[in-house]
């Protein structure tokens, strides 16, 4: 099958989970013998065309700009659409696959002029990310999301929670939606690391135990609740250090919040780090906290499970489906620092409990969340879209 995947995010342009999802899925589809073409946006230092493990990646420069975000997205969609049109002269695509509203205009236009079925993965919704629709831009994005679901032959979501959200909010027929979870390449975490050296490299004392957060520093990720939990964690476990990996526009607020807790000296902000560093810091951590208040899936939880770190996650969205409480992780109440502290302290205090969670989590990763399985299910969705 000739697959044209359209996404605004693809490595090294990594923002959230979409880039990792697209590269994992594209690689697995290529391994199954399909021809995968990724049309995406350019990124400093990345070539405009490259082939990685059978996946062909076309990075499109945006030749015009505008200060307004919505106008900017419409402009880059034009350039993506042009790139798909040019490619279609050489490649006879069978199917188009769009990822999220940001590429909706280009994907929908391509569907009509190429007369191909369009499959779309809805990774999250504006109404979910924003806890409602509060301004004209949000209303427009919500409308574009609806438009994309309407124009698509089939919709893929990554969790039951997202299926309910998409079905209820966009009034979609249930039969049009397939749930295909995210996945992870667990083999990346099978590397030896010297935990002491890794900690020293990041300015952490080797005797300290790392309570890790990984993600964008934006309100929906709930980092503030972990920071508010810090005093209760440090009081019980003075050897604990809260390590926050990632960047985002809320960083200054989070820094000031950390200063107000009285244990700022126990909270380290590492900023954005490379994939390799991320794997090493995960393998050197003692607990991973995923305190999101909105999380359609939560791929970082899979990364933690594969790395063998016990997880404390909010009981919300996709996280509540990935984590089985007291079996593959600890589910904390959403937006509740006390509950987060309780989970972290239990894991740090009870090595037997921590080890039980890790063993169960690793087994679940092997059985459910492999890219090969996800790629095969995605092909089934493509085939249904082609048949219908």
């Amino acid at each position: 099958m000739n697959i044209c995947m359209i996404t605004w995010e693809y490595p090294p342009r990594i923002v959230g989970g979409i880039a990792r999802h697209c590269s994992g899925l594209a690689g697995a589809l290529a391994k199954l013998g399909h021809s995968v073409h990724i049309v995406t946006l350019d990124f400093p230092g990345a070539p405009s065309y490259e082939e990685i493990e059978g996946v062909r990646i076309y990075r499109t420069p945006i030749e015009l700009g505008h200060p307004n975000f919505i106008v900017w997205t419409l402009i880059f969609n034009h350039f993506i659409e042009k790139r798909v049109a040019m490619l279609s002269r050489d490649v006879k695509f069978d199917i188009l696959h769009a990822h999220d509203w940001l590429v909706a205009p280009a994907s929908i236009a391509s569907k009509h002029y190429l007369r191909l079925p369009l499959v779309s993965t809805i990774h999250s919704t504006e109404v979910g990310r924003s806890h409602g629709l509060h301004n004209p831009d949000s209303y427009l994005i919500d409308g574009v999301e609806w438009w994309l679901t309407y124009e698509s032959k089939r919709i893929i979501v990554t969790s039951n929670a997202m299926k309910r959200e998409v079905e209820d909010h966009f009034h979609l027929p249930s039969e049009k939606i397939d749930i295909i979870p995210n996945a992870i390449d667990a083999s990346k975490y099978n590397i030896p690391v010297d935990r002491g050296n890794v900690k020293r490299r990041f300015g952490i004392d080797p005797s300290e135990r790392i309570v890790l957060f990984v993600g964008r520093l934006v309100p929906q990720k709930g980092v503030e609740y972990l920071i508010m939990a810090a005093p209760k964690i440090v009081e019980r476990h003075p050897e604990a250090r809260i390590v926050i990996v990632g960047d985002g526009w809320s960083k200054d607020y989070l820094l000031s919040l950390a200063a107000s807790t009285g244990c700022q000296h126990k909270i380290t902000f590492l900023g954005f780090i490379s994939d390799q560093d991320l794997i090493e810091i995960m393998l050197s951590s003692d607990v991973l906290v995923v305190p999101s208040i909105y999380e359609p899936f939560g791929i970082v939880a899979l990364e933690g499970m594969a790395a063998g770190i016990p997880i404390v996650a909010s009981n919300t969205g996709g996280l509540a489906e990935i984590i089985e409480h007291d079996r593959t992780g600890f589910l904390a109440y959403k937006e509740n620092p006390d509950s987060i502290a309780w989970g972290v302290n239990r894991i740090l205090s009870d090595p037997g409990y921590a080890s039980w969670l890790v063993q169960n989590a690793k087994r679940k990763i092997r059985e459910v969340y492999s890219w090969d399985a996800v790629a095969r299910r995605t092909i089934e969705t493509y085939e249904r879209a082609l048949r219908e």
Binding site: V15, P44, G65, P67, R129, L217, P219, G246, D247, F272
Partner: protein, 84 residues
Amino acid sequence: MPNKTPIPDEIYLLCILHNVGATSPERALTFEEILRWTAMEPPKAEQNLNKLVESRYVEVKEVLGARKYFITVDGIRKVLSMYS
């Protein structure tokens, strides 16, 4: 998201630099060009640019005596964190 904290001014400026395409040395903008795009008061724009340079989200290069500004890879990621 109904934010508990407003988006800081310098992040707003960073977003504009990103959206107008000042994402590489070849497409760097002068201070005057930035003022035209952002409609910010010059002292405020200068203060915010200095903050962004200090945080390494923006870099400055000298071209024929003029200072030109473009956003770095970390700056791009910072902006994209708002949209993803």
